[in-house]
């Protein structure tokens, strides 16, 4: 974890998570297969997020899930999981572990801060705790996960420098 900034009620740090994107129909067989691999059922409601000590599991859309490991895994194990899941025709698991960057944003002014960079309605009544969204932040495609007292924001690794500069600029100005 790298602390990026902490000022005016906003704390931002960069995290090194690993991630798998899973596509599937979300039906019984799909759920069982995932459950057998990670002992957890995929969330069933669209944009729902479940979380435990090891990972965040989110349903991104009607046929897409994100599995984000909060504790670093042996990468071989991740590849093995992907390989196992991909044995089934009706599922596509793709490794996103090092293609994404992750930012943890907390603090009482985090909504106001982020709303300098996105139009997204972050009010609790519109973006409840343990839900996620895909939206533009600082003009780039990001996923944002509401973990009640903090957000996890992810974007493509190629934007890392630009995104960090925008975060820093927003805090400074």
């Amino acid at each position: 974890m790298t602390q990026l900034l902490s000022s005016k009620g906003v704390n931002i740090s960069q995290r090194n998570f690993q991630q798998i994107i899973i596509r599937g129909d979300g039906k019984e067989q799909f759920n069982q297969l995932i459950n057998s691999e990670i002992s957890s059922l995929p969330p069933s409601n669209n944009l729902e997020v479940t979380i435990n000590d090891k990972f965040i599991f989110a349903k991104n859309s009607f046929d897409q899930w994100s599995l984000i490991y909060l504790v670093e895994q042996n990468y071989k194990e991740i590849l093995k999981f992907i390989s196992n899941v991909n044995l089934k025709d009706e599922i596509l698991a793709s490794d996103y572990s090092y293609g994404q960057v992750y930012f943890e944003i907390s603090g009482k002014n985090r909504n106001e801060f982020l709303n300098k960079l996105t139009h997204f309605d972050l009010r609790l009544k519109k973006f409840p705790a343990f839900s996620m969204a895909q939206t533009l932040i600082a003009k780039i495609d990001c996923s944002i996960y509401n973990l009640k007292d903090k957000y996890i924001v992810t974007c493509n690794r190629s934007f890392e420098d630009y995104f960090k500069e925008r975060l820093q600029d927003t805090a400074n100005i």
Binding site: N74, D89, D95, G99, N115, T118, D121, L122, S158, F159
Partner: protein, 995 residues
């Protein structure tokens, strides 16, 4: 007489501030605007008018100001700032505009002497000829003299954007806005209260019309209310925030001046552009007073009556202790009382109404106060040079008398400030009693409260708010008002007074900002511009930056009289956003300079920088364009060196930007067969194929290499810029056209860094890097790929080439990318491995005759045009664009087709984009069309062939092989003779590729 302080105002005890206007030092109080401070110092002349350079003074006290527009020298030379809004601070330096050499002595005022010539439509009528004059004389001269201020110089203005999502926005923190806000305290609604001034209160602070609210002095009530609002959990207040736009749907833009009353901090943002999405909008933005046209109604000293009153109460300055008041309604009664309460005596009170309309109470007050008053009378005009000296009053519509005073306070009535309401597409209607337009039917969730809704009766405001907010779960709080005034509006229609002809230079203005006179309106109507929108454009009436806020209804009134129509029949012009000017920097926010466009970098980016890469933008990617071997090496030399070295030994390209899409599912094979022109059915697993994707129109949309793991699993590469579109198209087709196919697609562009190593020595190099892999031709033939373990990850290596040389594409996860790249260089050193950029990539591929999507193609090129017939799976039942390939137009033989061209004189260079023609010389001038055969799509100097090679799209190109043609040139009109050849310049037998 002169200005005086309002001793009862708290301003008088505020901190003194020094500032400069036109280089002269003055003192004002903290909180003063430039205007109030200048008035305090008896400065009446503040500007020169736009066209005639007539002397102008302050006319209003707010955003509606048409005259007092100044340049702030110490704020990036910011021009066109309203002196009536901008607050002073210690050291602010302000200049007047549109004058030379000085405000007092302005050479441009010669325009006023010539003004009888400058009638409406002068420009349209005058600059018609002689031919050629417009471009060489008129336009340069007009451009030099046009405009008011001077543009800012070299600055990086800082503004930020702040998004809001709320339930209710209240525009205006005056009486109605504050009452509405108080009713919403601690309710379930998220509320934003936006106030354009630096304090709340509006009319409560602008006048003494309202004495008490709930038995509390208004100033105390405002303080109490602000405290309650700030303490609430659901209401946010933004002061100095002007709502400029009301868009669809319930989207408002407000601009906050974060440096109001203080010097700008160059490291912090000066402005915040609030972008607000709301469910309901409460417009409580009040009204704007309008003027009356009369002779010389633009002389410094003429001011709107309510503005005069605002200066007294808001800023504690009485601009003139003995002004003349001229009105056609009762709103001026409180101004009169304010002056008398402060011990001043107006020079005269002129009322156009009869005594019944004025009311006995006011008449008695005038008598009792011994004020000279004139009923059924009007101001005929005023005289003076740079300020008013005498005011001519037509008494009882007959006799003219003259009164000496330096100021004239005018009120022609008040208009609800309907700009935002009409921007929201709400409909307005004419009210005969109020003599103005007022809101009628809202188009969005808009509620109007108070004077903006046409309710000028403060006592009725309370009931109006209760009634209009009844659908909300607002608090049931009652408010009682105690008024200082009878609150009787009683307006009598009066747009212009009859004036005596004094001279050719006496004018009755309808638009002070753009110097439009009532005579111009009359002339325009006479010339046939009787539609208000036409008339507006012909005369430029209400087209200035003030948008005719104080005069647009007046012009409707005057035009309706000329046309003998009702005003409601004449209609209104359209109020367009923004409500008041805002700078481009405010609109741009932080999306400027380095943040203008997001930048994408590959994991090797910093290695490229260390190795002197010069970058080019490809989409949002920063890609090495070429690498300088030494500082002074030119691009041409670098590219020639990189190209030659790659063909001699080996070169490597960072191709991480290539799009990559993983496709998997039971029906993946069928899906790929549909998406691409190629046939994948017979393709062997673990092989790859160059593939084309078409649009429904049969035109090439993208290309890439498809790797087939098996019939259910593929990985496709795309062009760098095309990746998101290709992925989106795949998703769209899966969801809309072929929902029966069980296929999933994921973008894995970022998950794999890609290196393309090419050249005769590339096999030796990769064999040293990946010692466990057999790269022999037999075991690893062209267009096959393998996946194997590398450290704790997996690497996919494909034998493919975009250079025509033996080559490999290496795909690895980004966390190992840099380490592997360096390792390749470590082993490549012995072979003089060279890094190359996109320019060398283009040169090498052109030598081999490979096309680039977007360079050889432009959305009008089919695979057949590129001689890619071999890539079309003709036996396939269907693929996107298949049907279009058999249309008569797409199968024409004379379509533009890809060819190669080389100059006959090998020392000549062909430029990209040039036309290919049959004639040796272009006639000058070209009088008859020269047949255009096509254009040069790519052109490079080949270091390997030592002459220029080019690719071109030529009409019927396939049949032109060996023909001598000509290519136009930017150097003179002599064309370059060329020969049409095959586009494959190097290794047509593919010996290098499959070696």
């Amino acid at each position: 007489m002169s200005a005086a302080d309002n001793k009862k105002s708290h301003y008088i005890n505020a901190k003194e501030i020094s500032f400069k206007f036109d280089g002269k030092k003055y003192l004002g109080y903290k909180g003063d605007t430039i205007a109030s401070a200048l008035l305090r110092n008896n400065v009446r002349l503040v500007a020169r008018s736009f066209k005639y350079h007539r002397p102008r003074g302050l006319y209003t006290c707010g955003i509606e100001e048409p005259n007092g527009i100044v340049q702030i020298l110490n704020e990036h030379n910011e021009p066109n700032t309203r002196a009536t809004v901008k607050q002073i601070y210690e050291g602010i330096r302000v200049n007047s505009q549109n004058r030379w050499p000085s405000l007092n002595l302005d050479v441009g005022s010669i325009n006023n002497l010539l003004s009888p010539m400058f009638s409406a439509g002068f420009y349209y009528k005058t600059f018609m000829g002689p031919k050629g004059f417009w471009k060489k004389i008129y336009e340069p001269v007009i451009r030099r003299t046009a405009g008011l201020g001077k543009p800012p110089k070299e600055f990086r203005s800082k503004s930020v954007h702040q998004n809001h999502n709320v339930d209710i926005v209240i525009v205006g923190g005056g009486l109605s806005g504050l009452i509405a806000a108080r009713k919403l305290i601690d309710t379930e609604y998220d509320v934003l209260l936006l106030e354009q001034d630096s304090f709340l209160g509006g009319i409560l602070k602008n006048s003494n019309k309202i004495k008490k609210i709930n038995n509390i002095d208004v100033n105390k009530w405002i303080k109490e209310t602000e405290k309650l609002l700030k303490a609430s959990k659901n209401i946010k207040i933004f002061k100095n925030s002007l709502v400029t736009s009301y868009n669809f749907t319930n989207h408002l833009i407000a601009l906050e001046d974060k440096c109001a009353g203080k010097e700008i901090n160059k490291d912090k943002s000066e402005l915040t552009l609030h972008k607000i999405r709301t469910t309901h909008t409460i417009l409580a933005n009040g009204h704007i007073e309008r003027f009356i046209s009369f002779r010389n109604n633009d002389l410094p000293g003429v001011m709107l009556a309510s503005s005069f009153e605002k200066y007294i109460h808001r800023y504690g300055v009485v601009p003139e202790t003995s002004p003349v008041i001229f009105t056609n309604n009762s709103t001026t009664a409180t101004l009169l009382k304010s002056l008398i309460d402060l011990g001043h005596k107006p020079a005269a009170y002129v009322d156009a109404r009869d005594k019944d309309k004025i009311g006995k109470k006011l008449l008695d007050y005038l008598k009792k106060s011994n004020i000279p008053f004139y009923i059924n009378s009007e101001v005929e005009g005023c005289d003076g040079s740079k300020k008013i000296k005498t005011i001519s009053i037509r008494k009882n519509k007959n006799k003219i008398i003259k009164v000496k005073s330096s100021m004239l306070c005018v009120s022609g009535g008040i208009n609800p400030d309907i700009h935002l309401f009409t921007q929201s597409k709400g409909l307005v209607k004419w009210d005969d009693k109020l003599v103005t337009f007022k809101p009628d039917v809202p188009f969005q969730n808009t509620i109007t409260l108070g004077s903006v809704s046409g309710n000028y009766n403060y006592e009725k405001t309370i009931d109006e708010i209760d009634q209009k907010l009844s659908f909300l779960k607002a608090k049931n709080i009652r408010f009682n008002l105690e008024l200082n005034d009878s609150n009787n509006f009683n307006i009598q229609e009066l747009w212009e007074t009859k004036h005596e002809k004094k001279s050719n230079w006496s004018k009755s203005f309808i638009d002070l900002h753009n110097d439009v006179t009532t005579k111009d309106l009359k002339q325009a109507v006479k010339e046939g511009f009787d539609r208000i929108e036409h008339l507006k454009r012909f005369t430029t009436n209400s087209m200035g930056t003030d948008q005719g806020k104080i005069s647009s209804i007046n012009s409707l009134g005057i035009v309706s009289k000329i046309l003998k129509k009702k005003i409601s029949e004449v209609g209104t012009t359209t109020y367009r956003p923004p409500y008041a000017p805002l700078s481009f920097s405010a609109i741009a926010g932080r999306n400027t300079y380095e943040f203008y466009d997001p930048q994408r970098k590959t994991p090797i980016h910093y290695w490229h920088i260390e190795n002197k890469a010069v970058f080019e933008d490809v989409g949002q990617w920063k890609r090495p364009w070429y690498f300088k071997k030494f500082e002074t090496e030119s691009m041409h030399l670098a590219v020639q060196r990189e190209s030659a070295q790659t063909r001699k030994t080996a070169g490597i390209l960072d191709g991480s930007t290539l799009g990559k899409i993983e496709v998997k599912g039971k029906d993946a094979l069928e899906f790929m067969n549909l998406m691409y022109t190629n046939a994948f059915t017979k393709m062997k697993p673990m092989t790859s194929r160059y593939a084309l994707m078409l649009g429904e129109d049969g035109m090439i949309k993208d290309d890439g290499i498809v790797c087939k793991f098996n019939d259910k699993h593929f990985i496709a590469t795309t062009t760098s810029g095309g990746a998101p579109k290709v992925l989106a198209d795949m998703e769209e087709y899966l969801q809309t056209e072929w929902p029966h196919l069980q296929v999933f697609v994921n973008s894995i562009t970022e998950q794999f860094s890609t290196f393309n190593i090419s050249g005769p020595k590339s096999r030796e190099i990769v064999s040293k890097v990946f010692t466990d892999v057999d790269f022999s031709n037999e075991n690893f033939p062209f267009m096959t790929f393998k996946v194997f373990d590398y450290k704790d990850t997996e690497v996919r290596i494909m034998r493919a080439s975009f250079t025509g040389e033996l080559g490999y594409e290496i795909y690895i996860t980004p966390n190992h990318a840099l380490e592997l790249w360096k390792k390749i260089f470590h082993y490549g050193k012995a072979y003089d491995l060279v890094p190359y950029g996109t320019e060398t990539m283009h040169l090498l591929r052109a030598e081999k005759g490979y096309v680039v999507i977007g360079q050889e193609t432009d959305g009008t090129v089919t695979p057949i045009d590129l001689n890619f017939n071999w890539m079309i799976g003709k036996k396939k039942k269907d693929f996107i664009g298949k049907r279009s390939l058999t249309r008569s137009d797409t199968s024409r033989e004379d379509r533009k087709q890809l060819v190669g061209i080389i100059p006959l004189d090998k020392s000549e260079f062909i430029e990209e984009g040039q036309h290919v023609v049959e004639c040796e010389r272009l006639p000058k001038p070209i009088k008859t069309p020269v047949e255009y055969l096509g254009h040069v799509s790519s052109s490079y100097h080949s270091p390997n062939l030592n002459h220029c090679i080019a690719m071109a799209m030529l009409k019927g190109g396939n049949k032109l092989m060996g023909r001598k043609l000509f290519v136009s040139s930017t150097y003179g009109n002599k064309n370059i003779p060329v020969e049409v050849v095959s586009p494959v310049f190097i290794d047509p037998e593919n010996k290098r590729l499959v070696s």
